[in-house]
């Protein structure tokens, strides 16, 4: 297993995709941080509305600053993780990979492990940047960091979990679809557009079929909505949203489904 993981790491390091993706994530993080700082400094904190300076609002502000850039960062990590599988098919390296490691589930597990670790590393790096810059900003505004508060620290931790779980989902998606472009498009659609479209579906059901609020709460079963519920600091993505932990459980459930179905599919495929 160690060999397979080492080989996977070598594959990633041997091409340019990893640092291009890393650079994109760092740029996005810096850009998101900057825009948050500008909005808070000239907007929320300059406002005379006391509600914007309530402890709850300030906790959301801290959590948002610390997880800056995460929304698109997670997307890039997922697409990169999917590439760990789709690139092998695109470049026909899957043949030599399976010749060296004919136990295919071992190859998938190694890719999952590497993707999960990469997700964690990216999450830690962007959180470190977000927390460093965020604490400095709050300090300059005369505000505490609130890192000791559970809902703020929890947001940061759940943000890390989002990176890891979406990386795993990316590998699973790549295994299911194999084709590079199809996987990128599907992944991006699921992550970016899925929530809007499916929210509309749930609202239609709520209006016309089952007029009960749990239908709206049930939106959390959509992976991208689960992810938003999970990572939205303290606040609520929508009125009927369940707690962040419910979102986390749903998303981890999808991660497990991706691992199992992805492994199953890869084991059965003919490599021609």
């Amino acid at each position: 297993m160690n060999r397979t993981v080492r080989s996977e790491i070598r594959k990633i390091r041997s091409t340019q995709g990893w640092w291009l993706t890393g650079l994109a994530i760092l740029t996005l993080t810096a850009f998101a941080l900057l825009s948050h700082v500008v909005i808070y400094h000239f907007g929320d904190l300059a406002s005379s509305d006391p509600a914007l300076r309530s402890p709850a609002a300030l906790a959301v502000m801290a959590g948002t600053l610390y997880t800056s850039g995460q929304f698109l960062g997670v997307l890039l990590v997922m697409l990169f993780a999917a590439g760990l599988i789709t690139n092998e098919y695109a470049h026909h390296t899957i043949t030599s990979t399976f010749l060296a490691t004919p136990r295919r589930s071992q190859v998938v597990m190694a890719k999952l492990a590497v993707a999960g670790l990469l997700g964690l590393a990216v999450g830690l790096l962007t959180s470190a940047i977000g927390i460093g810059a965020g604490v400095a900003f709050l300090h300059s505004e005369g505000l505490p960091s609130r890192l000791g508060e559970w809902n703020v620290a929890g947001s940061v931790l759940l943000g890390l979990a989002a990176y890891v779980v979406w990386a795993v989902l990316g590998v699973g998606l790549g295994a299911l679809l194999r084709r590079k472009t199809a996987t990128i498009v599907t992944g991006a659609l699921i992550y970016l557009v899925g929530s809007a479209v499916l929210t509309a579906v749930f609202e239609l059901i709520h209006q016309h079929l089952i007029r009960q609020d749990w239908i709206l709460t049930a939106r959390v079963i959509v992976p991208s909505i689960a992810s938003q519920v999970m990572t939205t600091p303290g606040g609520r993505v929508f009125d009927q949203a369940p707690s962040q932990w419910v979102g986390a459980c749903v998303l981890i459930g999808y991660g497990l489904i991706a691992i199992v179905t992805g492994t199953f599919v890869v084991r059965r495929q003919d490599i021609t």
């Binding site: 080989s7 070598r10 041997s14 021609t272």
Partner: protein
């Protein structure tokens, strides 16, 4: 240099047993059984679409058989503890990330196989790629890529080599090198199985051949045995070449006796009747002969006869 496993006869024996592969309605490989022994080069021949590549890929657990088994040294490929140390495979020339250098590509495989990274330089030297080892594979010629595939197969210094059309893209010098190389491997007691459509090349290289058509075994044996068998099963003796100024007259006389005649100016290619009989016919008809040669049947003719009428693509 790596130590290779004990070179026992069974250690490198490939046994294909009732192997079958169906793609929907199409049967690509149909109840195929044969054995490949170590210490010789075995050619794997068949027309395009006969199922050669599918068979080789089933041997290597890349394609799941619909039925039957293939084992190497008694076990399935996927159950080999260190597959690259036991079997080296050359499948297609493009199985590498083109942005990588040859050296990086090999090091990825070495890491996966738990082999020392230094083997990369050793096999690159062995396959004549040392000078381009740090260049991008994208810049390699087809022949260089083919050599890189062979280099990858040698990483674990395996007892068994399986090669799918390795001569494609090699220049004459490369083909000569490959031939010498594979012969020396087999002389060391190793197993070499090589598929090819280059029959003349096989005649020079292989000790034994396995011929398949339409997914089924047509013949297996030494080249002499195959040629003999084809001679017996075909339409009588091999072709005879005759040169005569009275080609038309002789051709008509022979055709009346049931021979097949192809005329090209003064030259006749005659099959279905042997050389003494042709001489007799000419003598009786008073026809002057300038040449009468019984052509030795070669593997190519044997192959064509054996696979005749067995449609390649169903």
């Amino acid at each position: 240099m790596m130590s290779s496993g004990p070179m026992t006869e069974t250690g490198g024996r490939i046994v294909v047993s009732h192997l079958t592969k169906k793609y929907g309605e199409v049967t690509a490989v149909d109840d195929l059984s044969f054995t490949v022994r170590s210490g010789r080069v075995t050619g794997f021949l068949g027309p395009n679409g006969a199922g050669k590549t599918t068979t080789l890929r089933m041997m290597l657990d890349l394609v799941r058989p619909t039925g039957g088994t293939a084992t190497i040294g008694g076990v399935r490929y996927a159950d080999l503890p260190d597959p690259l140390r036991s079997v080296g495979a050359v499948l297609d020339a493009s199985g590498a990330h083109l942005a990588n250098s040859g050296r990086k590509h090999l090091r990825i495989l070495l890491a996966a196989a738990g082999l020392p990274a230094a083997r990369a330089d050793a096999v690159l030297a062995e396959t004549g790629l040392r000078s381009v080892s740090r260049r991008k594979i994208n810049d390699y010629s087809l022949g260089m890529r083919q050599r890189l595939g062979i280099a990858a197969a040698l990483l674990g210094d395996p007892q068994v080599l399986v090669l799918d059309e390795p001569a494609n893209g090699l220049d004459p010098e490369g083909i000569h090198w490959l031939r010498e190389f594979l012969r020396s491997r087999s002389r060391q007691g190793r197993t070499v199985l090589i598929s090819s459509h280059l029959l003349s090349e096989m005649q020079l290289l292989a000790d034994e051949v396995v011929i398949i058509a339409a997914g089924r075994l047509v013949a297996q044996g030494t080249i002499e045995q195959i040629i003999d068998a084809a001679g017996r099963s075909g339409s009588g003796p091999g072709p005879v070449r005759v040169r005569t100024p009275q080609a038309d007259a002789l051709g008509r006389a022979l055709e009346r006796m049931g021979a097949e005649v192809i005329k090209d100016g003064e030259v006749l290619q005659i099959s279905g009747i042997d050389a003494p009989a042709i001489g007799g016919v000419a003598l009786r008809a008073g026809i002057e002969l300038h040449e009468l040669t019984a052509e030795a049947p070669d593997l190519e003719q044997a192959f064509l006869r054996l696979t005749q009428g067995k449609a390649a693509i169903r």
